[in-house]
C-alpha cells in the first residue's frame, strides 16, 4: 500500500524504533473490542493517543504505518487523521509539552501576557523546544477551563488560574521530576 512520501515526515522515519510490548498490544486489542466486528478503524484515534504516549509524545511515519497494518487500513487513513487532530504531534517534542490555551476567555484572564512570559522565560517561541529537550511550548485552542484560566495542560493535568509565579513553580517542579 502507498506510504507517506512527505519529506517533512520522511526525515522522521526510523528515528524511533517500534517496540510495542505485550501489554500495549493487549490494550490496543481491547480498544478494538469496543466497536462492532469490522469497525476496528473506530479505534484509530484512541490507539494513536496510546502509541504517541509510548513514543515520547509524537508520531512518526513508521508508527503510523504499523497502526495502519494493525487496524488493517491503508496508511493514508492514519495520516489524514493524525494530521487533522491537534493533539497529535508529527515532530519530536520535549519531555513536557506545555499546552497553553490562547482562546478568548483565557485571554480575558491574562493568557497573552503569560504566553509572552513563558516564551521569554524558556527562551523559545510557540512550537519550539528548549535545547535541553525538556519543554515544548504549544499554544492550543480552548481547553474547556474558561472559568479557571489562564490554563496550561501538561500531559494528563490541567494547571489552572495561572500567573507568573505559579508558572515559575510549575516549571521548577517539572524540572525536578525524574
Amino acid at each position: 500500500m502507498p506510504r507517506m512520501n512527505n519529506s517533512d515526515m520522511e526525515e522522521n522515519r526510523n528515528i524511533t524504533g517500534l517496540n510495542w510490548d505485550v501489554e500495549t498490544l493487549a490494550r490496543m486489542k481491547e480498544m478494538i473490542s469496543h466497536y462492532p466486528e469490522g469497525r476496528q478503524k473506530s479505534a484509530l484515534v484512541p490507539i494513536l493517543h496510546l502509541v504517541q504516549d509510548e513514543n515520547g509524545g509524537w508520531l512518526n511515519t513508521e508508527i503510523m504505518d504499523h497502526v495502519a497494518d494493525f487496524l488493517e487500513i491503508s496508511p493514508i487513513e492514519v495520516y489524514e487523521v493524525a494530521t487533522f487532530y491537534s493533539q497529535f504531534n508529527l515532530r519530536p517534542v520535549g519531555k513536557y509539552v506545555l499546552e497553553v490555551c490562547r482562546t478568548g476567555p483565557c485571554c480575558l484572564e491574562g493568557a497573552e501576557r503569560l504566553i509572552d512570559f513563558l516564551e521569554r522565560k524558556l527562551g523559545i517561541r510557540d512550537g519550539e523546544t528548549t535545547p535541553d529537550g525538556m519543554f515544548t511550548i504549544k499554544t492550543v485552542e480552548c481547553l474547556g477551563a474558561c472559568g479557571y484560566g489562564p490554563v496550561i495542560q501538561v500531559g494528563d493535568t490541567y494547571y489552572e488560574r495561572l500567573d507568573e509565579q505559579k508558572i515559575d513553580t510549575l516549571l521548577m517542579n517539572l524540572n525536578k521530576t525524574p
Partner: protein, 451 residues
C-alpha cells in the same frame, strides 16, 4: 432558592462512588424505567418535560428521540456528545468530573427508550483524567448489574464505552462527531439524512449532550410534567451556566431558566459582579458562537424589558438586538477589554478549527482573521470594516455545518454593536501599532479621562 436538578447531590463527598451515589437515590430511574415503563413511555415523559438540547441548539430532546428510525432489523446507537469545546463552555466537564454516575444513569434510561444495545460517550481527548473517571464509573455500573446483559432482569441489555477524541472543535457537531467515532477526520456530513435515520456506521443514532442526558433521570423519577413546571414558558427546567471572564465569581452554576440576567451577573449567589470594580462592557451569553451584546442590551431588551436567562428572552430582538442562550457559556467583558482584539482572537479560533470542507468557511475565516489582525494592529483601513461584514455575510448559511455561522455571527455582531471601536482602530491607528496589550490599555485609558 433555585431548584437544583443536576447538581443537587454534586457536593456530597465521594458521590463519584456508586455505593454513595445509590445511597442518595442513584439509579432509581433505571429501576423505574426498566421495571415499569415501555421505551415509548420513557420517550413520552421526556417529550412532556419540554427538555431541550443543552449542547447549544436547544432542540426539543423528546422530538429528536421521536425521529429515531426504530426498525428492529438494524442496530441503534446512542452517542453522548462530551466533546465540550465551545469557548466559554465548561459545564459538562463539571458533571462528568464530580457525578459521573448521573451521566451513566441517564445514558442507560435513554438507551432503553431508544432501543440501543450500545452507547458511546465521545469525550474530547484533552479531558484525560475524566476519561478515567468515566471508565471507572462504567466498570462499577457493570459490577452492580446496571450495564451488560439483561439489566435488572428486564430483558434489556446495554453496553457502554468511552471514546476519546483527538482535539478538534468541529467534532462537537454531531455528524462530524460520528465521522470521528468511525475513525475518520471530523468532516461534517450533509443533512439529511439525519443521524436518527443514518448515523453511526449508517445506522439510526441519537446524539445528545452530556447535560441533556443528565436531566433524564430526574424527569423519569419525578415525571415530565413536574420538570415542565420548572423554568419559564418553553424554557423548561434548569440549565448549567458556565460563567467566565471579568467577574468576581467565575464557575459553573445551575440556574432555573427565567432568572434575570442582571441578577445572574450582579448577585453574589452567581457571578458576583464585575471584578476589580470595573464596569460591564459586553457579554457573549451562550458560548463564543452566539452574538455579543453590549451591556445595555444584555441587561434589557431593546424594548426595555428585563432580559431573562431563557432561550426566548436572550433571542428577543433577533440578530439586531438579541443573542442566544446557546451552550450556556457566559463570557463577561469589563470596560478595559478590546472588542476588536477579542473578535480577532475568536476568528483565529474558527479559522484554526474549520475542517476545510466548504470554501466559504475555510477561506472566509482565514480572510476575516487577517483583516481583523490588521485592524487590531493599527494597519487597517476604514473599508475593512464593511469588508468584514461582507465576508461574514457570505459565509453564513453557505456551509455544510453551523461552524460557518458560528464564525460569522461573532464578527457581524461585534461590528453591529461596536462599530465605533473598530473605526477607532483606524482613526487612532498609532495607539494600536506597537506594544503589549497592557501598554495599550494604559495608553487608551490615559486618553480617556473618564474611563
Amino acid at each position: 432558592m433555585t431548584k437544583r436538578i443536576l447538581t443537587e447531590n454534586i457536593h456530597i463527598p465521594d458521590i463519584g462512588n456508586i455505593q454513595v451515589y445509590r445511597k442518595h437515590g442513584g439509579y432509581q430511574s433505571v429501576e423505574k424505567a426498566l421495571g415499569s415503563y415501555s421505551p415509548d413511555q420513557v420517550t413520552d415523559e421526556v417529550k412532556k418535560s419540554g427538555l431541550r438540547g443543552r449542547g447549544g441548539a436547544g432542540f426539543p430532546t423528546g422530538m429528536k428521540w421521536g425521529f429515531m428510525d426504530r426498525s428492529p432489523d438494524k442496530p441503534h446507537y446512542l452517542v453522548c456528545n462530551a466533546d465540550e469545546s465551545e469557548p466559554g463552555t465548561f459545564k459538562d466537564r463539571f458533571l462528568m468530573e464530580h457525578i459521573p454516575h448521573l451521566l451513566i444513569e441517564g445514558m442507560i434510561v435513554s438507551g432503553f427508550a431508544l432501543g440501543c444495545r450500545t452507547s458511546y460517550i465521545y469525550i474530547r481527548g484533552e479531558f484525560k483524567w475524566i476519561i478515567r473517571i468515566l471508565q471507572k464509573a462504567i466498570q462499577e455500573a457493570y459490577l452492580q448489574g446496571f450495564l451488560g446483559e439483561n439489566i435488572l432482569g428486564s430483558g434489556f441489555s446495554h453496553d457502554m464505552y468511552v471514546h476519546s477524541g483527538g482535539g478538534a472543535y468541529i467534532c462537537g457537531e454531531e455528524t462530524a462527531l460520528l465521522e470521528s467515532l468511525e475513525g475518520k477526520r471530523g468532516n461534517p456530513r450533509l443533512k439529511p439524512p439525519f443521524p436518527a435515520v443514518k448515523g453511526l456506521y449508517g445506522y439510526p443514532t441519537v446524539v445528545n449532550n452530556v447535560e441533556t442526558i443528565c436531566a433524564v433521570p430526574w424527569i423519569i423519577n419525578h415525571g415530565g410534567a413536574e420538570y415542565a413546571g420548572i423554568g419559564l414558558g418553553k424554557s423548561t427546567g434548569t440549565k448549567l451556566i458556565s460563567s467566565c471572564g471579568n467577574i468576581n465569581r467565575p464557575g459553573v452554576y445551575e440556574i432555573e431558566l427565567g432568572l434575570p440576567v442582571a441578577e445572574f451577573i450582579y448577585s453574589d449567589e452567581w457571578c458576583g459582579g464585575i471584578s476589580k470594580g470595573r464596569k460591564l462592557k459586553a457579554v457573549i451569553p451562550g458560548g463564543s458562537s452566539v452574538p455579543i451584546l453590549p451591556a445595555h442590551l444584555i441587561l434589557e431588551t431593546a424594548e426595555g424589558k428585563p432580559r431573562l436567562m431563557t432561550y426566548e428572552s436572550l433571542a428577543e430582538g433577533g440578530f439586531e438586538t438579541g443573542s442566544m442562550l446557546g451552550s450556556g457559556g457566559f463570557i463577561v467583558f469589563d470596560d478595559t477589554q478590546c472588542i476588536v482584539r477579542n473578535t480577532w482572537n475568536l476568528t483565529r479560533f474558527y479559522h484554526h478549527e474549520s475542517c476545510g470542507q466548504c470554501s466559504p468557511c475555510r477561506e472566509g475565516t482565514g480572510w476575516m482573521e487577517k483583516i481583523l489582525l490588521r485592524l487590531e494592529e493599527g494597519r487597517g483601513k476604514k473599508s475593512d470594516i464593511d469588508l468584514l461584514v461582507n465576508v461574514a455575510r457570505h459565509i453564513e448559511g453557505n456551509t455544510i455545518c453551523p461552524l460557518g455561522d458560528a464564525a460569522a455571527w461573532p464578527v457581524a455582531s461585534a461590528i453591529r454593536h461596536f462599530r465605533e471601536e473598530f473605526e477607532n482602530h483606524v482613526l487612532n491607528a498609532d495607539v494600536h501599532k506597537a506594544g503589549t496589550r497592557e501598554d495599550n490599555i494604559e495608553k487608551i485609558t490615559a486618553e480617556q479621562p473618564n474611563a
